[in-house]
């Protein structure tokens, strides 16, 4: 009996614990470059967790995570930039013809304000957008495209406002910023940010796990399955959806905050349409609805990308493309999802399992392309 319990505990927490231990120990065996790279990938894993929450569980495919990530990153980068400029006007403002610091930059001299803004602004934006969008029952692809449009709009806008945002360049050259009296780039600070990222990842993971394990999480799944039924059970889907949307946005923003000091640059290209799609790809590769899958997917795809591009700089995209195709065909539920289902599948194979022949597949349209198709006839 006790043994069983232990086995279950290991099953539930084993891989997570091992992962965390490995990550915490990473500074001991990784080179400086690889450590910074891993830190960056871990921030991606954080984004993926938030996306998994809203998409894997709640069924809302947000193509706007890049936006929230970017806003978080910009918020903190503004502070770092002011720090790095040492009281002078940031360089890009000079060469864009500004003479003094714009008013909305002023409060970002305070790290507390910057951090708060970096978290709250994306949350607020998600809240407002979510409220209107969900209230008018925008669903499925329509939701995806709205979030994508907002992402595109913001990144174009950021590019256009060079004097205030650094334009295409983004905010860079943060090297001389000081964190607790140390230069941003000094090894202890970098290590600190790395560890902070690991801790944040663990925290976000536990939060998501708690949320999805509770009845709230099951209600999210219910929303994904049949929003009408949820409404006609007496819940206000708008409120539930806004809550997760805001949460996932703030998780992405947190990742942005951790991204900037490690990578040293944030630019509109990191918050645009393509990165937002890539975030979806991470979760899909790892396995939707399995939080660990989101983490694994983000790490694996990022490493794959980095490995392929280092090994075959001229044609690496072919390998990356093949990786996506392969993972879809070999791991239909994502890597973690499929591995979790493996024991069952093996059993099934041994007993010559028949499979549905027609095209009728899983009953969970992730994007309800035509929401009306799936809707039950009342």
């Amino acid at each position: 009996m006790d043994k069983k319990k232990l086995a279950r505990l290991i099953g539930q927490w084993g891989s997570f614990t091992v992962l965390m231990l490995v990550l915490l120990a990473a500074p001991l065996f990784l080179s400086d470059f690889r450590l910074i790279q891993l830190g960056k990938f871990l921030t991606f894993a954080i984004i993926a967790l938030g996306l998994d929450l809203i998409w894997g569980y709640g069924g809302m495919l947000s193509l706007g995570q890049g936006l929230f990530f970017g806003l978080g990153a910009y918020g903190f980068a503004m502070y770092l930039k002011l720090q790095a400029s040492g009281g002078k006007l940031p360089d890009f403002m000079f060469w864009s013809g500004l003479k003094e610091l714009p008013w909305f930059w002023v409060p970002f001299q305070s790290p507390v304000f910057a951090l708060a803004a970096a978290l709250l602004v994306p949350g607020l934006l998600a809240g407002i957008l979510g409220y209107f969008v969900f209230r008018s029952r925008v669903k499925g692809v329509y939701f995806s495209i709205i979030t994508q449009a907002l992402t595109l709009l913001t990144s174009i806008w950021f590019v256009g406002q060079q004097a205030y945002t650094g334009g295409t360049n983004g905010i860079t050259n943060l090297g001389s910023a000081q964190i607790f009296g140390h230069s941003l780039q000094s090894p202890p600070v970098q290590r600190g940010f790395y560890l902070a990222t690991v801790v944040a990842l663990a925290g976000v993971y536990l939060l998501c796990r708690w949320l999805t394990g509770a009845r709230f999480g099951r209600l999210l799944v219910a929303l994904r399955d049949n929003e009408e039924r949820v409404r006609f059970l007496g819940y206000d889907p708008v409120r539930l959806k806004v809550v997760v949307f805001v949460l996932s946005a703030m998780i992405a923003a947190l990742a942005g905050i951790l991204f900037v000091p490690q990578v040293g640059i944030i630019s509109p290209s990191s918050m645009g349409v393509v990165p937002s799609i890539e975030m979806v790809v991470w979760v899909a590769v790892g396995g939707r609805g399995t939080l660990l899958g989101a983490v694994v997917g983000a790490l694996l795809v990022s490493y794959g990308r980095s490995y392929f591009s280092e090994s075959y700089p001229d044609i690496w995209q072919i390998f990356l493309g093949a990786l996506f195709i392969g993972s879809v065909l070999l791991f239909p539920q994502g890597i973690v999802g499929s591995l979790a289902a493996l024991p069952q599948r093996v059993k099934g194979l041994l007993s010559r399992r028949p499979s549905p022949a027609g095209g009728e597949a899983g009953n969970e349209p992730l994007i309800q392309v035509t929401a009306t198709h799936a809707e039950g006839r009342s």
Binding site: R229, F232, L233, G234, D236
Partner: protein, 258 residues
């Protein structure tokens, strides 16, 4: 607001009209139902029965007319989820459940409907858990409690959906063809169940199975072309030549007579 002449009406509809691109699915419908009543609504395919339920649950907003629930809720102006909280629960014509959740989780989701996001983070209170157990027993899904609802057979889904409503303890239960696809024995059980429920809440059942209607209904409303054709005790209604003409059919009537 319509005058509530009879304080005991749980439901009062006046001159309700619903049209789709000019086609009137409900056409100036007047309808009343008293507390504690087990009311059956029948009528030809396309008569507007489902549309009536759509109106009562806020899914469809009528172009004209007023709907008053419980003597105080203006149904046409209240959001759907709020109507549920006020006590109107509905079973859809095709079973509508959450296929990814287990049977138990489906019921749990239904039971927590009055809780906020924070409340949903905690456990379900024991009282409601008990209620779920009770209902599971009632609909004989106990052995299936841990099964993913998506794999249930059609009839089992019907039962599950009904169970989800029962745990909510509504004031008014709306059922759209609840016994479709059930064997006679199951129909009888359902009928008994409905009669039992009716002691605690009002029930409005849409059904085509005349045998079921005869066995369990007292008062029957007949809709036709979006209007009230007739209303009254079963025997009277099924003898009404208009009902026979548009709904029951002559030979069937002959069979019954024989």
């Amino acid at each position: 607001m319509p005058q509530t002449t009879n304080a005991k009406a749980i439901l009062e509809l006046e001159e309700v009209t619903v049209s789709f691109d000019g086609f009137k699915a409900l056409d100036g419908l007047n309808f009343r139902m008293a507390y504690g009543e087990l009311r059956f609504v029948i009528g030809p395919n396309g008569a507007g029965k489902t549309t009536l339920l759509d109106v009562l649950t806020g899914k469809t907003r009528p172009q004209r007319g007023t709907v008053l629930f419980d003597g105080r809720v203006n149904v046409t102006r209240t959001p759907e989820h709020e109507l549920v909280r006020q006590g109107i629960a509905r079973k859809f014509q095709t079973p509508t459940i959450f296929p990814s959740l287990t049977v138990y989780e489906n019921l749990e989701a239904a039971a927590g409907f009055r809780e906020g996001v924070v409340g949903l983070m905690g456990r379900l209170d024991p009282e409601r858990q008990e209620r779920i157990e009770e209902v599971l027993e009632l609909v004989a899904l106990r052995p299936r409690a841990a099964v993913r609802a998506g794999v249930l057979a059609h009839g089992e889904k019907q039962w599950l959906e009904m169970a989800m409503l029962l745990v909510q303890e509504p004031k008014l239960l709306l059922l759209d063809e609840p016994v479709a696809g059930m064997t006679r024995a199951e129909r009888n059980r359902t009928g008994e169940l409905l009669q039992a429920i009716a002691s605690r809440c009002s029930v409005l059942v849409v059904e085509h199975d005349m045998e079921f209607v005869r066995n369990f209904a007292s008062r029957v409303t007949v809709l036709h072309l979006g209007r009230l054709l007739t209303e009254g005790p079963v025997a009277q209604v099924q003898a009404d030549p208009r009902v026979i003409e548009v709904y029951i059919g002559r030979s069937y009537q002959a069979e019954i007579a024989a």
